[in-house]
């Protein structure tokens, strides 16, 4: 049985021109030094409190590898003790008990395994996984952070989107960093079972 109150969120940070990483996967441009006077600040306490509301993470293999490389550089593991599902057909190192690998039908996985167990489900990238999640009509909302930068080329926000997806803006917030965070509800018009 699918929990009726479960919620699938896609969270992505992208450049203004719509890229989540450079062609080779680098995200060196994520650190920006902009100062937007009218913006909100993100204090560590409220960020931590917010992250506690997330029940599980879902990511692609390259995003997992990026997270591991951040950890190797001493930046820590970004997903705490929260269950983290990595969608991959490859053999990857399992670095902690909270990490699980899955390769199979995404709709089945989300509806039968995740939605039955978790309330707040976060897809954190990359473009292929998130695009697939959206294309299959599995996402309820998209949280999209626009960074104040153009990078000119890279891995697009959503790959393999074969149709237009209309969104309904639920919230817009600008931060002091110059990042604009948008929260959209996915309009499930014409999607079966939506």
């Amino acid at each position: 049985m699918t929990r009726t109150d479960s919620r699938v969120t896609i969270h992505m940070a992208a450049s203004l021109d719509g890229f989540i990483a450079r062609k080779d996967g680098r995200v060196d441009w994520l650190e920006t030094s902009d100062e937007f006077a009218g913006g909100d600040t993100m204090d560590p306490e409220s960020v931590a409190a917010f992250l506690k509301t997330i029940d599980c993470y879902v990511m692609g293999s390259r995003t997992y590898e990026t997270a591991l490389s951040f950890e190797a550089k001493g930046f820590g593991w970004a997903y705490g003790g929260t269950p983290t599902f990595v969608l991959t057909r490859r053999e990857l190192p399992r670095t902690r008990e909270t990490v699980e690998f899955y390769s199979g039908d995404l709709t089945q996985f989300v509806n039968d395994r995740l939605r039955t167990k978790f309330r707040t489900i976060w897809f954190v990238g990359g473009g292929v996984v998130s695009g697939e999640c959206l294309r299959l009509g599995l996402a309820d909302e998209v949280r999209y952070s626009i960074l104040p930068i153009l990078i000119g080329d890279g891995i697009p926000f959503f790959e393999k989107l074969d149709r237009d997806v209309a969104l309904h803006v639920a919230e817009v917030k600008a931060y002091k960093s110059g990042t604009v965070e948008l929260r959209y509800q996915v309009r499930k018009v014409g999607v079966p079972n939506g």
């Binding site: 992208a14 930068i149 153009l150 926000f157 209309a166 969104l167 604009v180």
Partner: protein, 171 residues
């Protein structure tokens, strides 16, 4: 120095037109007042493809604005309403920026933006973001564009879902 302002509408995933050069998916909002913008400019720069889209919609120039079109294929004599130039815009825009007058609107498209950005001739990026994902189309900055830091100066969200973001190009 007059500012060159890249002002376009785009999808959330960074496309300023779909693959057929269509823009029917863009939304407006009754609360968005474009008068201050048009009062602040007197010149508009248009790339060849964007100009052809205008022509298809029956517009041969922007009324009241000095319109410069950059194209190697269109013949100047056929388009007396505009100033048709066969260069990539860099020399012309360098000269225009130095003249006195109001701001200069770079209305598109992406290719013209890329060449002017590469020559440090763009001062602001002002985008009206429509709440839609297209997946593919004409990019805001076609590849390979350079990495360019921006500074958010203003943002405005409207009830229709339109979001207008104003950035300065950081030099």
């Amino acid at each position: 120095m007059r500012r060159v302002r890249y002002g376009v509408g785009m999808s959330l995933d960074g496309f300023i037109a779909d693959l057929r050069d269509g823009m029917g998916w863009m939304i407006g909002d009754p609360g968005y007042d474009s008068k201050p913008f048009f009062a602040s400019i007197d010149t508009v720069l248009v790339g060849r493809r964007s100009y052809e889209v205008m022509l298809r919609h029956g517009a041969r120039s922007y009324p009241g604005l000095r319109t410069y079109v950059f194209s190697r294929s269109l013949k100047a004599a056929d388009y007396p309403e505009v100033t048709m130039l066969a260069d990539d815009g860099v020399a012309t825009v360098t000269k225009l920026r130095g003249e006195t007058g109001k701001d200069i609107w770079l209305s598109g498209g992406g290719e013209l933006f890329r060449s002017l950005l590469a020559a440090d001739l763009v001062d602001t990026v002002e985008v009206g973001v429509s709440p839609i994902l297209l997946g593919q189309g004409r990019p805001l900055l076609p590849s390979p564009g350079r990495t360019q830091k921006l500074k958010l100066t203003h943002e405005q969200a409207f009830p229709s879902g339109l979001l207008v973001l104003y950035y300065d190009v950081v030099r």
